[in-house]
Subunit: 479 residues, 2 copies
Amino acid sequence: MMKLYEKFADEIEEAVRRGVFAPGERVTSVRQASQQHGVSIKTVLHAYALLESRGILETRPQSGYFVRAKPPARVMARVAKRTIAAASEVDVSGLVLSTLRSIGAHDAVPFGSPYPDPEPFPWRRINQYANAIARRHASWNLIDDLPPGNPELIRQIARRYAENGVPVDPDEIVITVGATEAINLSLQAVAKPGDTVAVESPTYYAMLHAIERLGMRAIEVPTHPADGIDIDALAAIIARRKIAACMVMPNFQNPLGFQMPDERKRRLVELLSEHEIPVIENDVYHELYFGDARPSTLKNFDTKGLVLHCASFSKSLTASYRIGWAMPGRFRAQVEKLKFLNTLTTPSVPQVAIADYLRQDGYDRHLRRVRKLYRQQARIMMSMVERFFPPGTRTSTPQGGYVLWVELPPRVDSMKLYRAALECGITVGPGTMFSTRNAFSHFIRLNYSYPWTADSEAALQRLGTLATELDAHAKENDK
Amino acid sequence: MMKLYEKFADEIEEAVRRGVFAPGERVTSVRQASQQHGVSIKTVLHAYALLESRGILETRPQSGYFVRAKPPARVMARVAKRTIAAASEVDVSGLVLSTLRSIGAHDAVPFGSPYPDPEPFPWRRINQYANAIARRHASWNLIDDLPPGNPELIRQIARRYAENGVPVDPDEIVITVGATEAINLSLQAVAKPGDTVAVESPTYYAMLHAIERLGMRAIEVPTHPADGIDIDALAAIIARRKIAACMVMPNFQNPLGFQMPDERKRRLVELLSEHEIPVIENDVYHELYFGDARPSTLKNFDTKGLVLHCASFSKSLTASYRIGWAMPGRFRAQVEKLKFLNTLTTPSVPQVAIADYLRQDGYDRHLRRVRKLYRQQARIMMSMVERFFPPGTRTSTPQGGYVLWVELPPRVDSMKLYRAALECGITVGPGTMFSTRNAFSHFIRLNYSYPWTADSEAALQRLGTLATELDAHAKENDK
């Protein structure tokens, strides 16, 4: 059943499509809209946020909501629709690793990095806690650190979820070496070699890696740049064939940046529950929302323990400590055992140091600062792409996280752009990494977590020029 | 071809068997033997060490070599011969994890622990390096830490191997989260679900875990408590069926403690090379030798790149840092890629801290101290088991490491002993953990890394009494 704010949002979208509100024009203010339509302020805010996520509206500081100049959602949705694929074996990791190596080795402009700029993170502070812990102990006994992990860290993680309205039993949490391990173990707990796993398309390549590594097959489901995985398309796939598990990233998906609306999260969990299909929820960007509050998770709608929720501190606090966790629902015992088999324990001092840090007040302050930074830098990057890139270029409208998904004119080969940019000391994430079948060969992913400087502006301009040249060259060849 | 020292050792063993040297009697001194037999001092030392490893001789500080009162090797060899098994699916990890939990939760006497007493390890020193590194950096970028790992740590590891006569190319080393991850990745690089993997029997249970987790099947090969895996038995198995890989622990095997003689290491590698079978060498105890020098590894005899050598700092420096590595021979690229997929990177500060520690002079001094400690404590534990345990009890003769393998009278059920001991606050490692088929149900493994105190002596005495009672009770029931 459609919620009130969704209905209201659809009405406004229809008005925009019909030209009632022109591109660049300010739409009815929140207060006015609430009075005119007899709905609450909250409903209007929800609706406008949804429209922002769909790329229909944009906000301007202190000015309200405006119709975007080029609504990208429809364009990208069409592209996404084309990506239904037969299940295919996966070999993406070679490309990803060599891309990462280029970034590391060349000290290049890190638009292509999958990691956040570590600079704004409280690295020194956490290290101080680590040092204090180390100094308090004459030695450290591994036997005290068996899975599931440090009890105090587990308690702190559970507390944060509870504060944000996500129902969590601390006994469900298993600490892992980053979310990467959590995802791997979760997948292994619910599927076996040869099984088919449904993923978003485009999808974060770590999802494809996990599937590849365990000898499973990925089936890619069209994914809307604002609404998330196409639930009807997924239902159609489930009706046709046996799906062992589903892997999604409902909040600030990498690369698309959307936040799945609550109603869609609920429908997704209901569909999968009906068929008893476990779903692995990658929620590593959960703290990096641009809205007013932490979004819900699939866990909020899970009644059968089928959601295996995976997350980490790598995107919001420190990546180098490699602390992640799984909340695997009814698969908790299997995941804990697999953790023991895979890496025995997760290093303890980092766990305790993060627990100590979380007990203090600084985390929320740090996060508020980072969220504001990323929100600002997302807008700058989007406007700069509009300015520098060839006509026909479209971008996603990230609702959180720190990556922008850019659709180039169809003739531009993103691998060629990647190589040309690298020669200029600039990296990008080629779209081919996000699928098993070259589905996004004219897309790139850009990282906007780094501060915007004259250098980065020049680099983005250069990138736009390269894309324009590649487009022109391809056009020439077409003749 | 038999080496000179082996021939010489066989002569002495024959003399002992014939009663030329009586139990408890001192054998010819090394210098005298060298003169009498016209062989070098080194050859005599090699031969005596071999006889010690076979349980024929024992050394007493400042006194020389003596014939052991009860040569255990023959008895244990017979037991080992019975353990040829059909390949079987593995489920050992549940037992292991619950055993470890009991140790951790009960603060019990840690005879059952698989980990070394962390007290003599330079924990504070390494933490100081870690803190210094953390303070030198304002932030830490994950992208600089991609596999294979920190270059300076890799260089230090390669240097130590080179100094000990093990041929190593630094480019071959991949840093992992402990040896556990190295073993898992190595196994996955060479075998696939459903494949059969040959292991020692008894074997270190992490080997069984890795096999279990990847859906492979273990075939257990009889393993001599002094000489290692029975190469003829392995050859017979290879002749009968397809073996995808072999997993062994040629130095100070857990639980048996033997050091495979060089000649047998060579023969093992030759046999496997002939059939193109990769071999995973678990060498985590390599630094904890009781002899004069670091033993050779299978790598020393590998001409085809079929040895995947796995090790870590967990047994010799710090377990809680979780730093291990693989040298995967011709499978290097696969292992590196799997590392990236499994846990992305290994935390960096711990890597750099250990590299900094290794560059200083302290490691060898620390190791000399620990080796001496373990050698002494092994002897104490062996003599105490002789003193307190029921007649018919036999022990291994560890040549390194920190665990003793104890064969109880056949009627004693080690799981019953484990449970009875736990009620007294004492832990042991039940023999059933070391096989998939209850093959060692009257064996236990004891950890002697902890300092010998009046309390531990009382605990071992209590354990002996419990074993005696269980034996008597079982005898009663047999009637």
